[in-house]
Symmetry: C2
DNA sequence: CCATTATGCGCAATAATTTTGCATAAAAGT
DNA sequence: ACTTTTATGCAAAATTATTGCGCATAATGG
């Protein structure tokens, strides 16, 4: 078990918002020396609290203009192993997120693609052919008010 | 307009997966000098292709064990300005993502909170009190098969 | 089609940042 | 209270990032 004190939480709070601050800038804000910040971060990484560092890229700049949520229901017997039921989906770069959920559907899947045409192809060529599909519903995002929001640290 | 050549795309592809590679490591993989990688990244940041750098933090380590999707419908007249209709939500740290969507509901909102109790409080104290709410539906994620997947770059 | 200009490049010097050895101080355990 | 462990800051060392410069290549314009 890993316990996080207020310094750790503050580091995580700040770095979630800008992971490119230098240790110098970080140390000012949390009131610790740079060396200690460095060591604490190393520990948080080692213990898996920090899972990685990534870029936020503008989807538009990549020509990805459509975000959609796909709701999937499977035939009952396919749900003993949810992961393998949608294994083919998880590998696809269009799939940003995939969860099993309570409610009418079994999976909720977030995809980001170039166009409505690409969404349509994805549904027809990747989702529909999956084994044991019972139902597919799709909702297209028109306006993204917030994404990749940081987790609360307090 | 910003055009991205194969080097830019390769940089974005790699850094989305690990934004902490050094310019040296990066330069090997893309076959460019470190100085040129540095300059290209500076440009991508300047032009907004790279929107920022962030941490992937383990929700569990922060005691955040519940991910849920909240579906919100508003009274018709509240939807002329979607953003202000949910402005109070966007500020909240529990809200990771918020979109307007096609279909039965107006908004889809992803939240990450500590417990089902916290989810319940959030719904009762933050969502329900919003002005002009017509309907609320919630789906709790049981298993997260993929999150924060990188965008496709090709 | 050549001249001019602009853009992209790598190298090497410089600057900035991160990591580590070490001594000290604070906590924790006995 | 005493010992052991853990956390800390400082300063040196190592690593990494940035920039000036000269050269090449490609785009622009006459």
């Amino acid at each position: 078990m890993t316990s996080l004190d207020r310094f750790d939480l503050k580091l995580l709070h700040i770095l979630q918002r800008d992971a490119r601050l230098t240790l110098g800038q970080l140390s000012e804000r949390v009131n610790l020396s740079t060396s200690q910040c460095s060591r604490r971060l190393a520990r948080l990484e080692r213990e898996g609290v920090i899972q990685g560092y990534s870029l936020r890229v503008s989807p538009d700049a990549l020509g990805l203009q459509v975000t959609a949520f796909i709701f999937l229901s499977m035939d009952k017997h396919r749900m003993d192993d949810p992961r393998s039921a949608v294994a083919a989906l998880l590998k696809r770069d269009e799939v940003i997120e995939c969860h099993t959920v309570t409610g009418n559907h079994d999976f909720i899947i977030k995809v980001v693609v170039g166009s409505l045409g690409a969404l349509s192809s994805f549904l027809a060529e990747v989702v529909s052919p999956l084994d044991g599909i019972h139902d597919i519903a799709t909702q297209v995002a028109m306006d993204t008010l917030k994404t990749n929001g940081p987790l609360r640290t307090d």
